[in-house]
Amino acid sequence: MERILIQLITAFTSSLGFAYIFNVKGKRIFYDGIGGFLAWGVQLLAAAFLTNEALCYLLGSAALTAYAEGMARWQKCPTTLFIVAGSIPLIPGGALYRTMSYGISRDWQAFFNQGLETLLLAVAISAGILIVMVLDQIWHNARALSRKRKAQA
């Protein structure tokens, strides 16, 4: 429980810190922190029910993207602003490093295993982002279409 609490708090602070490093301004820094908190929170919640790690990461990044799309519409700015810093807790930086350090110590078996694991996580995160973005686009286009129809009728 303490572990989870620490992770949630540090997920918030590390996203917040990266928001500063990526030159995000104003209140959006705070929203970025919330994004990181949300992404990791959903991942943890999913992990409580699911055994598939990649799927948990996918759900985490999907939740973050849904949040980012909403924020972007409200703040009238690109979605990227909220995804880049918010995805920090999910980003497999640690796993990527572990992969390469196995490579450096010539432990090829571990290198390939960890490498595939890292790749899988990166694919899961990207897929989570893209799925929500595409669904959002479909929703947006469908609404525009129905509006057009109504205008014609």
């Binding site: 690109p78 880049v84 450096i104 990207s126």
Partner: protein, 252 residues
């Protein structure tokens, strides 16, 4: 159209490329950049716009209704994420599409974006410490590991800033920073601050490792920008290998 229409159109395309270039440097996705350039050129009256962007270059061909065809290319050298600039560029491109301002006006607005304030060095140092400390604890380090990582993060910012100004190669900057990080972690352990060297290192590695690049690379590949994806993927793998090597040097 005025008598120097050609100047205007070419000047306009240059502006469109300037916007695209700045967007790409600030961290805009390839499809966002292509979309923006297309919209801006269409706003200038182009009948057909073909944009091809990969991370290191942009090519735009603009076909005007009178049969005139203009092409310009731009080479992109390095990326530096700047979300504020990206936001403002996005606003600028919307403004151009809505009001179709003159080239001179767009130029002056672009100039304003170029000189937008960055956070002061002090703030950045504090944020490096915050990120390092947070990440060290996030990955399972205790409070002391976090503190050690935060202190190394501060030193790392100084080293990185110095090397950014003096070192001609980004790749070597990363390697030297990694070696420095690994050495400092060992030094701190010897001095009795921190318990778990892997956790201390992980906190600092998060500052350097191109995890976002790796994820974006795969995103680009899935979306269909395969060349950009593969390019970024290769870059991310090479850089992270260098980082792993740098942090491990002290243990050899």
């Amino acid at each position: 159209m005025s008598e120097n229409a050609q100047d205007t159109i070419e000047g306009f395309l240059t502006c469109a490329l300037d916007i695209g270039e700045r967007m790409l440097i600030s961290g805009g996705e390839v499809n966002r950049v292509e979309d923006t350039i297309t919209r801006v050129c269409k706003a200038a009256g182009a009948q057909r716009v073909d944009v091809y962007t990969i991370t290191s270059s942009i090519v735009v061909t603009m076909g005007m209704p009178d049969g005139q065809v203009i092409t310009q290319t731009r080479r992109i050298s390095r990326q530096k994420l700047d979300m504020n600039a990206l936001d403002r560029l996005n606003d600028l491109s919307r403004y151009i599409c809505q009001t179709k301002p003159s080239v001179a006006e767009v130029r002056s607005m672009l100039k304003q974006i170029e000189v937008l304030p960055q956070y002061s060095f002090g703030t950045q140092v504090v944020m490096y410490a915050l990120v390092s400390g947070s990440c060290a604890m996030f990955f399972g380090g205790n409070g002391w590991d976090g503190l050690a990582s935060a202190l190394i993060g501060v030193l790392l910012k100084f080293v990185q800033t110095f090397l950014n100004k003096t070192c001609p190669s980004d790749f070597f900057t990363i390697i030297l920073c990694s070696i420095f990080g690994g050495v400092m972690a060992h030094l701190f352990l010897r001095l009795g601050l921190g318990e778990n060297p892997a956790m201390i290192n992980l906190g600092n590695i998060m500052l350097l490792i191109p995890g976002i690049k790796l994820t974006n690379a795969i995103r680009d590949m899935i979306r269909g920008d395969t060349i950009t994806g593969v390019l970024c993927f290769a870059e991310a793998v090479i850089v992270s290998m260098a980082i792993a090597w740098g942090f491990a040097v002290i243990t050899f």
